[in-house]
């Protein structure tokens, strides 16, 4: 395993040549969210029970699906102006369609590695390691979820509209309907059961947001 953050050979003089990760460079990006896109996550939290005592509980939450929007001259109206990249047309289009863009400087989520032919941009929750000839990516899903919860709590992103969140229920029902006929097969029955639980949790998450608004993300 190679740790790319601290690479030095003590018997050589330091050179200006940096260690580069064995991945092709990519362009810089920012995270953006469209109010139509949510995913269900079960978060372990502490809630007060009826007797006023704190209790550990699994809370279903709808977390925003964040898109990585790359700024590449020639893509979606982005152009190179002088030595900088001007993505104003793309950003305006995204705003028109209701996206919320998350400033990488303000939210500090971008990490840049020197790579093959330039820099490799990724999020801070992705850790890169080299095993054999492969670059393995470890994704800190829990850290990413906590950050997304924080975005909801601080109001950086608006809470899901219950009507839009309900669209997910339609596709989940369709998926279950396909399985129902074959539920006599144990493996299918298991899949159906997990989808039923997911449906129940999604409904519960929607109801929670409907009732509590932003406070639904306190845990």
């Amino acid at each position: 395993m190679t740790d790319y953050t601290k690479y030095a050979q003590p018997w050589e003089q330091k050179t200006d040549v940096q260690t580069r990760i064995p991945k092709a460079a990519n362009s810089r990006f920012f995270f953006a969210h469209n109010p139509e896109n949510w995913e269900l996550k079960i978060i372990e939290g502490i809630v007060m029970n009826d007797e006023g005592k704190k209790k550990k509980q699994k809370i279903p939450m709808l977390l925003p699906v964040l898109s990585s929007i790359h700024e590449i001259p020639g893509v979606n109206g982005t152009r190179a102006v002088g030595s900088r990249i001007d993505s104003s047309i793309m950003r305006t289009n995204l705003l028109d369609q209701g996206w919320t863009m998350l400033d990488p400087v303000q939210h500090d989520y971008v990490r840049v590695y020197p790579a093959h032919k330039g820099n490799y941009h990724t999020s801070k929750w992705i850790k890169l390691e080299k095993v054999g000839k492969r670059v393995i990516e470890h994704f800190d899903a829990d850290g990413f979820d906590l950050w997304r919860i924080e975005l909801m709590k601080t109001g950086a992103l608006n809470t899901p509209h219950p009507q839009i969140a309900s669209i997910r229920l339609i596709s989940m029902s369709r998926a279950m309907a396909r399985l129902e006929r074959d539920q006599h097969i144990p493996e299918v029955a298991n899949r159906l059961k997990s989808k039923q639980i997911e449906l129940k949790n999604t409904k519960s998450a929607i109801a929670r947001v409907d009732k509590m608004g932003k406070l639904a993300y306190e845990h």
């Binding site: 898109s67 990585s68 979606n76 369609q97």
Partner: protein, 321 residues
């Protein structure tokens, strides 16, 4: 009888070894074989709309005009047979998408010695490199298509799960219910190689007869070398290594119908001062000679812009990386 001075192949010349003196340590193959690559794209298909060239247009941008005509607006009932409806005129719905062409490039640098010592024929020299640049353009086109599609608003699947038949159905469902009357086909899905294998796995686990006994489902499971993977539920499925990787550890696979994405280009013409300019389809290649250092730069340029024209006609199919 044992000898004390055998002639051997090894590289110990003091004891008669021939390598590097009378023999080669390695004979290089006459033919240059290609490394694995993926430069397939949807450029010459009806799925990507060509919106023209910027050459002589006065701008680097082409605004794709869109209007709600031919049935977009419906009629309404008059209040009565003699009512004056002049105050109820219909506003024409209009929209536009800007496609901006930007310079894409690739540059190689080759010394005379490395060029002249080649075997000739199709060995690597500045001309062979120039020919290779035409393929680099196609690869770049595929990359930019993937990057443009990563901004589709509608998503199906999740970054945390593998691609399944359910996700695929969700994608089709999203296109079919898009705005007014659904998006007209044909539909095509472009999947990362890993996502395609996941979809095939999911297809194998299908139990419903309508899906599992479908001829196209069986075809999808057979291995194919090229990027076209088959037709599934009426959607042409392509594999591409240039599907965008997002920073939530997922792939931004995509499902499109015609007019979801479009592109424009520009080709430099009549370039003054260029003595060696090769026009290779949509890109040009020039040779920049540096006699003081006995080397040649092989410079490829293309002007290309890709973007979303109608967001409702495309869906992002997320899957775990």
């Amino acid at each position: 009888m044992a000898t004390t001075k055998p002639i051997t192949f090894d590289n110990v010349s003091a004891s008669g070894g021939m390598v590097d003196i009378l023999r080669l340590s390695a004979m290089i193959s006459q033919e240059i074989n290609l490394l694995l690559k993926d430069n397939s794209n949807l450029r010459n298909t009806p799925l990507l709309s060509y919106q023209g060239s910027i050459n002589g247009s006065g701008s680097d941008t082409i605004r794709v005009r869109q209007a709600g005509l031919d049935g977009y607006d419906s009629m309404a009932s008059a209040t009565s047979e003699i009512s004056d409806e002049s105050g109820n005129t219909t506003a024409l719905t209009i929209n536009s998408a800007d496609l901006v062409a930007a310079r894409q490039y690739i540059i190689y640098e080759m010394s005379d010695l490395s060029s002249m010592s080649g075997f000739g024929g199709s060995d690597i020299d500045p001309f062979r490199i120039a020919q290779s640049i035409a393929g680099s353009y196609e690869t770049r086109f595929a990359q930019l298509t993937g990057a443009a599609a990563a901004s589709f608003t509608t998503t199906a699947g999740l970054n945390t799960t593998t691609l399944s038949v359910d996700d695929f159905f969700d994608g089709i469902f999203a296109l079919e219910k898009a705005s007014i009357g659904g998006s007209p086909g044909p539909y095509a899905a472009v999947l990362a190689p890993k996502a395609l294998t996941e979809l095939q796995d999911s297809l194998r686990n299908e139990t419903g007869n309508a899906v599992s006994r479908m001829q196209s489902s069986m075809d999808m499971l057979s291995a194919k070398g090229e990027n076209y993977a088959g037709n599934l539920f009426g959607v042409d499925v392509y594999r591409s290594a240039h599907v965008s990787e997002n920073s939530s550890s997922g792939f931004d696979n995509y499902l499109i119908s015609p007019m979801a994405l479009g592109f424009i280009d520009g080709i430099p013409q009549g370039v003054r001062g260029s003595s060696d300019l090769l026009s290779l389809g949509k890109c040009v290649v020039e040779f920049d000679r540096r006699p003081m250092s006995a080397k040649t730069f092989i410079v490829g340029h293309a002007y290309l812009g890709l973007g979303i024209i109608q967001d409702d006609r495309g869906v992002k199919l997320l899957s775990k990386r």
